[in-house]
C-alpha cells in the first residue's frame, strides 16, 4: 500500500523540479544525463565538423552572401537535429542495479580471449570461413565542378544528393567503437544466458582488430572490459578523442523465429531537416552575423545527419546482405533515424547497430560462437569501409589513401 508520506515526497519532488526550471530553486541532486549532454553541446556549439565547415565554407559564403536578398517575413528556421533533444537510447546504458540474472552461469565462449591488436591470433579456419568480401568499388568522388550548383542555391545542393562532407573533403582519422552496455548493465539477456554486453564487446574487439589492419585511422573503444560506463562518458570519450565516426554495437531482444537486424542513425524521423535547411538557405536573404552562425551550425548538424544516414545505410546493407547468406532467418528491419543520447551528444556521424537478436535458441547459440561474432565483425567492417570509400575521404586525404584502403581490403 502506498504511504501518504511518499505521495507528499513525490509532490514535493515535482514542485522542486519545476521551481528549478523556473529559476527559483536548486536542481535536484539526480543524475541528468540528457541535460548534461545538451549542456555540453551548448558549451561547444560548433562541433568539430561544424568548425571544419566554418573554415571551408567561410570563403564560399563570403561569395555567396552577396547573392542573398532577404525574403519578406525573414528566415524560417529549420529544425536542426541537435534540437530534437536527447532521450535515452533504445538499448542504452541504464544503470542496472540488479546485476546479473540469477542462475546464469558464465559461458565458455564469453571467456574466450580475443587479441586486441593482432588479427592473426584468430584461428585461421575462421578467416577462411568468412564470406568473400567483394572487391571495393573505387568510385570516383565527383568534385564540386561535377554538379551544377548555383552559388547561393542550397536547395540545389541539398537535392544534388552529394554529401556535404564530400564537397569539402572532410576526412576520417579516428573511429570510436562503442560496445553497448557493460558492467552492471548486462543489456539484453538471451534465454540461454548470453549477455548482450559480452557479445557486443567481443564483436567490437574483433571489429577494432579488423579496422586497425587498414592503418589509416586510429580505432578506439569506449570500453575494453566489463565496465559500467554511462552514456555521457561514452559521448565525452568520443568527443574528447575527436572521433570522426562512432559505431555503437548492440544486440536486439525479441522472441521470434527470425533474427532482426537494424541500424539507427542520428537524426529526426524523416527528411524535414534537410528540406527545412534547403528552404532556409534558398531564401533570398542578407544574413546577419547571428543568422550566419546559425546557418553554419545547421550545416554541421545536417552534415552529421547526412553522413550518419549514409553510414547506417552502408552498414545495414552489408550486414544484412551478408548475414542472410549464412542465416536464412535474418530479417532486414532497415535503417531508422532516432535522437538517441549516445548519438545526439556526439560531434561525429554516428550509428547504433543492432547486429543480431536474441530471438530464438538457434540464433542465440550462433551468437555464442566465435565464428559468428567474427563474421558479424567482418560484415560491419565491410559496411564501414564501403562507406568510407564512397562517401568521404580517409585520413584527411581523398583519392590516394582510398586506393590503398581498397588494396588492403583485397589482400585479406
Amino acid at each position: 500500500m502506498f504511504k501518504q508520506s511518499d505521495k507528499r515526497e513525490i509532490l514535493k519532488g515535482i514542485y522542486e523540479e519545476n521551481l528549478w526550471v523556473a529559476g527559483k530553486g536548486e536542481a535536484r541532486k539526480v543524475d541528468k544525463p540528457s541535460a548534461r549532454s545538451l549542456e555540453k553541446r551548448k558549451l561547444h556549439p560548433l562541433s568539430l565538423i561544424s568548425a571544419a565547415s566554418v573554415v571551408l565554407l567561410g570563403g564560399i559564403f563570403m561569395y555567396w552572401l552577396g547573392s542573398f536578398n532577404k525574403a519578406p517575413g525573414g528566415v524560417t528556421s529549420g529544425v536542426a537535429p541537435s534540437q530534437i533533444s536527447g532521450g535515452a537510447p533504445l538499448t542504452g546504458t541504464a544503470q542496472v542495479s540488479t546485476g546479473k540474472v540469477p542462475g546464469l552461469a558464465p559461458l565458455d565462449s564469453q571467456k574466450s580471449v580475443v587479441s586486441e591488436t593482432d588479427p592473426k591470433s584468430f584461428p585461421k579456419t575462421l578467416q577462411k570461413k568468412l564470406p568473400d568480401v567483394d572487391n571495393l568499388e573505387d568510385l570516383a568522388i565527383p568534385g564540386l565542378d561535377d554538379i551544377d550548383v548555383d552559388p547561393g542555391n542550397y536547395e540545389a545542393l541539398a537535392e544534388s544528393g552529394m554529401p556535404i562532407a564530400e564537397l569539402f573533403g572532410l576526412g576520417v582519422n579516428t573511429i570510436v567503437i562503442d560496445p553497448g552496455h557493460g558492467g552492471k548493465d548486462p543489456g539484453a539477456v538471451g534465454n540461454l544466458g548470453v549477455f548482450e554486453k559480452d557479445v557486443a564487446l567481443e564483436i567490437a574487439k574483433r571489429l577494432r582488430s579488423r579496422l586497425r589492419k587498414h592503418e589509416h585511422f586510429e580505432v578506439l573503444m569506449t570500453r575494453e572490459g566489463d565496465d559500467t560506463i554511462s552514456l555521457n562518458d561514452r559521448v565525452e570519450y568520443a568527443n574528447a578523442n575527436q572521433a570522426d565516426l562512432f559505431i555503437s554495437i548492440h544486440v536486439n531482444y525479441f522472441p521470434s523465429e527470425h533474427s532482426f537486424i537494424e541500424t539507427y542513425y542520428f537524426g529526426p524521423t524523416d527528411d524535414t531537416t534537410v528540406a527545412s535547411l534547403a528552404k532556409l538557405e534558398n531564401a533570398d536573404s542578407h544574413y546577419e552575423y547571428g543568422e550566419f552562425k546559425d546557418i553554419i551550425q545547421k550545416i554541421g548538424d545536417t552534415l552529421k545527419f547526412q553522413e550518419s544516414r549514409q553510414l547506417a545505410h552502408s552498414v545495414q546493407s552489408n550486414l544484412y546482405g551478408r548475414m542472410k547468406k549464412i542465416n536464412k532467418q535474418a530479417r532486414d528491419h532497415g535503417i531508422k533515424s532516432a535522437p538517441f543520447v549516445v548519438l545526439l551528444g556526439l560531434d561525429a556521424p554516428s550509428i547504433l547497430s543492432e547486429v543480431s537478436c536474441f530471438c530464438n535458441p538457434a540464433e542465440e547459440q550462433r551468437l555464442k560462437t566465435a565464428e559468428y561474432r567474427e563474421n558479424i565483425a567482418a560484415f560491419l567492417e565491410k559496411g564501414i569501409v564501403s562507406y568510407l570509400n564512397k562517401n568521404t575521404s580517409v585520413g584527411g586525404k581523398r583519392n590516394g589513401e582510398k586506393e590503398e584502403l581498397a588494396k588492403a581490403q583485397q589482400q585479406q
Partner: protein
C-alpha cells in the same frame, strides 16, 4: 488570455486547476470544473488574408486545421515529441493550443489558472523552458511533468509499476518506485505511432504502386484496423486507383507495420524490469500498464504479456480511457499539490 467562446460551467471558486496532456497526436484537458476536452495537435494559420476571409478564423485547430491544410500554415508543434526550441512558430502553436484547450473547458479570464502540463518525456527533458514559455502566458502557475508519470499518478500506480505510453511521436517508459521518477527512470524511443504510419505507407506503396493514398489516409487506416498477433478475416480499405474507389486488402501489411514497434518496446520493458530490486521484479511484472493512443492496437497488451511471460508471470493492462489518462492524472496532481507550492510558482 484567449477570448472565450462560451462558459459552460463556472468553478465555484476563483481558481481553476487543470491537467493538460500536450501530445504529439492529440492534446487533452481535464479541468476542476468537470469539463474534459481533446483536440488533434494541429494548429493552422491562414496563409493569407484571402484564406483568413474564407476560413473566417485567425487560427484553426485539430481536424479543422488538418482538413484545411492547403489554406493554412499547418504546424504540428510536438511532431517529434519535442517543441522545437528556438523556433517561434512551434512555441506559438503550443501557446495557441493551450489557449484553445482552456477555452474549451470554459476557463475564465478572471480565474486563476493552476496547470499541470504533461508532455512527452523527451520534450520534458529537452526543453522545459520552451514549454514553460509557450504555456505560461495562459496560466498563473504552472508545473510540467512527463505524460507517463501523469498517467501513472492518475491511476495510483506510484510504486513497483511500469507505465508505457505509446504515443504518435514517441513511446515513453516510466518506472514508478515510490519516488519522483528521475531521468534515469524514464526512457523515450521514437518507434511509435508515426513510425507505424511510415512503415505501413511504404509497405502499401510497394504492394499497390498504382493506388493513390497519403500518410493521413494511412493514419486513419491504422486507427481503424491496427492489430498485432492474429486477426479474424481480412482488413480491406477503400483507396482510389486512377480515380475509381477500389477495395484493398491490407491485412498482412497492417500486422507487420504494427509489429515493427514491438522489439524496441519489449527490450526496453525487460531492461526496465531488471532495474528493480530482484525481490520486487515479480510484482512489477504484474503491474505493467499501457497508455496513449498506441495502447489501442488490438492484441498489443496480450502480445507483450505473452512474450514477457516466458520469464515469469506477467500482467499487462491498458488504461481505461487512453485519451484522457494523462490529462486526468495531471489534474489529480494539480489538485493534490499543496497551495503553497502553487504560490511559489506564481508568475511575477
Amino acid at each position: 488570455m484567449a477570448k472565450k467562446k462560451s462558459s459552460p460551467k463556472r468553478s465555484s471558486s476563483n481558481k481553476m486547476r487543470v491537467g493538460i496532456d500536450l501530445g504529439t497526436s492529440r492534446s487533452a484537458i481535464s479541468a476542476s470544473n468537470g469539463a474534459r476536452e481533446w483536440v488533434a495537435s494541429y494548429v493552422g494559420w491562414p496563409k493569407d488574408f484571402i484564406s483568413e476571409k474564407v476560413l473566417g478564423k485567425p487560427v484553426l485547430f485539430g481536424k479543422e486545421a488538418l482538413d484545411n491544410r492547403l489554406s493554412v500554415e499547418l504546424v504540428r508543434p510536438l511532431e517529434h515529441g519535442v517543441i522545437k526550441e528556438g523556433i517561434s512558430r512551434d512555441e506559438e502553436a503550443v501557446q495557441e493550443l493551450v489557449g484553445h484547450l482552456l477555452e474549451l473547458v470554459g476557463a475564465l479570464e478572471s480565474q486563476e489558472i493552476y496547470a499541470v502540463v504533461g508532455v512527452p518525456a523527451e520534450s520534458l527533458r529537452a526543453n522545459k523552458l520552451a514549454i514553460k514559455r509557450a504555456v505560461q502566458d495562459y496560466v498563473d502557475s504552472l508545473m510540467v511533468v512527463s505524460e507517463p508519470f501523469a498517467a501513472a499518478y492518475g491511476r495510483g500506480l506510484l510504486n513497483n509499476a511500469i507505465v508505457i505510453d505509446i504515443g504518435a511521436g514517441t513511446t515513453d517508459f516510466c518506472i514508478m518506485h515510490g519516488a519522483m521518477p528521475t531521468d534515469e527512470d524514464q526512457r523515450t524511443i521514437v518507434t511509435a505511432g508515426d513510425y507505424i504510419d511510415q512503415q505501413l505507407y511504404h509497405m502499401l506503396k510497394d504492394k499497390y504502386p498504382e493506388s493513390d493514398f497519403n500518410i493521413n489516409m494511412v493514419r486513419n487506416f491504422k486507427e481503424a484496423h491496427s492489430y498485432v498477433g492474429t486477426v479474424k478475416g481480412k482488413i480491406e480499405v477503400e483507396i482510389p486507383v486512377a480515380g475509381r474507389i477500389m477495395l484493398h486488402d491490407i491485412t498482412e501489411e497492417m500486422g507487420r507495420a504494427c509489429e515493427s514497434v514491438l522489439p524496441a518496446i519489449i527490450e526496453n520493458t525487460m531492461e526496465l524490469i531488471a532495474k528493480f530490486d530482484p525481490e520486487y521484479q515479480e510484482i512489477v511484472r504484474e503491474n505493467i500498464v499501457l497508455a496513449g493512443g498506441g495502447s489501442q492496437i488490438r492484441g498489443l497488451a496480450k502480445y507483450i504479456e505473452n512474450v514477457l511471460s516466458e520469464d515469469g508471470p506477467t500482467k499487462v493492462s491498458v488504461v481505461d480511457d487512453p485519451v484522457y489518462a494523462s490529462a486526468d492524472g495531471a489534474l489529480a496532481l494539480a489538485q493534490d499539490m499543496p497551495e503553497e507550492y502553487w504560490e511559489d510558482l506564481l508568475k511575477e
